[in-house]
Amino acid sequence: MAENGAKATVTLEIDGVEVTVPSGTRVIEAAEHVGVVVPRYCYHPGIPTRPAQCRMCLVEVEGRPKLEPSCTLQAADDMVVNTASDTARTARQSVIEFLLVNHPLDCPICDAAGQCMLQDYAYVTNQLESRVDEPKRIMGRDRISDDILYFADRCVICTRCVRFMRDVAEDDSLIVAQRGDKAYIDTFPGRELDNPFQGNIVDVCPVGALVHEDFVFKARSWDMDAAASVCPGCPTGCNVTIDTKENQIVRVKPRHNAAVNSWWMCDYGRKHLVMTNRGVRAELPLIRAGGGDGDGGELRPVDWATALDWVAEKIGTLGAPGGSAVVSPDASNENLFYLRTLLDRLGVGDADFRVPQGETAELPTVPTLKLRADRAANAIGAGFFGGRSVDGPPNGSAGGALVVLDDELEGAGEDFGASADFFLYLGTRLPGAARNADAVLPIATFAEMDGTFTNFEGRVQRFHQALRPPGLARPAWMVLSRVLARLGDGEAVDDVRGAFERMAAQAPAFAGLTWDGIGLKGAPAAGSAAEAAGVAGSAEAGA
């Protein structure tokens, strides 16, 4: 150990399995390479500081007199580590016994139950009885910020939240107050917890001490379904997991992706994702087929087959090519691709999209993770498919065909689309500006379908269906592929793979990409900044 050779890797033995890891790797991380997860509280892979204070990850190293905390212990050549020896297990059981001295054991009403590391480790260490006769200390709960509650009795003082704020967000607003069994987490005197990334302290909490107020008592962990998704709040495209219960989003958590958001996401994204899936929705296809033939009359609800047949027929009988289109920069790549295919058929050039602007926020230690000013999930993707960023109210006064894809048409006048020969509105909602539409086709939000977004640096990222769409709403790629199929262009697709495959075959930016190849970590689009930067794409997905 005395020699200071620049060795790239070290080889050690963990629980009888030999493993070679990069030099400098900690034993707790090396153990994960052989499939051993050493119990831990204070260690979190996304938080740089490792105080080794919870004493949960103690392991036995041959030739050393005492147990060593594996979160700070550097892996070295010829080290023989035993994570499950009797000594290590007894030590772990003792730690659990101490943690349970004052723990209220209120698992039946705790929101972390089922996903709680104290529960898990109490179970695996078989620590069933307490030898303490003294009554438990009771501290109650506290509002630590405007939307986060702190249940002090449940806290194991791992300080992950304090260290996330201090070392990742670089905001010294949280501290450990008092000592010993009176210790609790609080805001620094005279300061408030008011950080755009503070929601992450709830995600790092290994127990149920920190809970989002809007999640308190909402759902038990086993009642929820999870879907891998991407945050649509801004072009960063943070990877997230959407937890749903009874077809409602109850929680949004960041999903690790080293190239995009690391382990974190911003609070704006969490709220935005929930809000985009609330509200009154368009649920039925509507067409303006009068009593006789042709225009006039009220919009009336019909089934999909009738609506699609009618729309295809109207498009087929349109006169001179030309027209205009308004698209949402929150639409998925597949939706935009199918819309572009339809627009090309109609002879429509640029599709206008408007990107709302908002405040920015940065997480100082993670350069790729920012809340960006553009409040749109897929403006880059819209650009790939003949989109044109414009300001001001949407222009719907031109003649010819007018197609709107999921834009709420804010600022549009009463006569929006009145002079169009054929006004097709595909939307998740039904804004007043769609009143002149000849056909309204209800489509699914991003959380109700599978698809991809392209983030700010051109990384194509997959998201998966978390909710059932309301009523007859369907993904726009599914709807548009059927309109096109009726016009003799391609086939109707039911599976996102089919939609993605056709897009990859026809759109140069997606050449060479496959749905499976993108994986859950995303892959750079052809010619994008992400590709130029050599961002670890699918290669990193397996790690």
Binding site: C107, P108, I109, V216, F217, K218, R220, D223
Partner: protein
């Protein structure tokens, strides 16, 4: 008339009903006067049920009359026939409670898992069998109705011998 019908002559002693009737009456009289009568005068007399009889539910309450349920969600989770509906909420003092708690007793199979799993000993099966109702809706017991029940609660196991050995 078929020609080969055989007519059997029977002695009077065998074919007379007098003796059989007298025998029957004697059995009737014996049972009428017997101290071991089995007929129960329901509903004037009620059956005495075993303490482990599993009948319709009852919710235990605190001294102030609040239901003991903390809305943990274990009973709807464990229920094999999904007959329990629970919506948890937070009361003024920040405690978790059941905003909606309904048991469909028609659907219930009276397995007793809900009582067994309850961490606060709130929901119980009852030693009770008189459940006639005029409508199916009345068979869905809400929290108020569960609290109102007054019958004994089921002992799922003998406290002296919890493992039934």
């Amino acid at each position: 008339m078929p020609g080969d019908v055989k007519v059997v002559e029977r002695p009077r002693a065998e074919s007379s009903y007098v003796r059989a009737a007298a025998k029957g009456m004697s059995i009737t009289m014996r049972h009428l006067l017997s101290p071991n009568k089995k007929t129960q005068q329901y509903p004037d007399e009620k059956w005495e049920l075993a303490p482990r009889t599993r009948g319709t539910h009852r919710m235990a309450v605190h001294e102030d009359g609040r239901a003991k349920c903390v809305a943990c969600g274990l009973c709807p989770t464990v229920c094999p026939v999904n007959c329990i509906k629970l919506v948890p909420a937070e009361d003024e003092s920040g405690e978790r409670y059941a905003a909606i708690y309904e048991i469909d007793e028609f659907r219930c199979i009276f397995c007793g898992y809900c009582q067994e799993v309850c961490p606060v000993e709130a929901i119980h099966l009852g030693v009770h069998y008189e459940n006639a109702e005029y409508s199916r809706e009345r068979w869905v017991y809400d929290l108020e109705r569960l609290v109102e029940q007054e019958h004994d609660v089921t002992a799922l196991w003998d406290p002296q011998d919890p493992a039934s050995q």
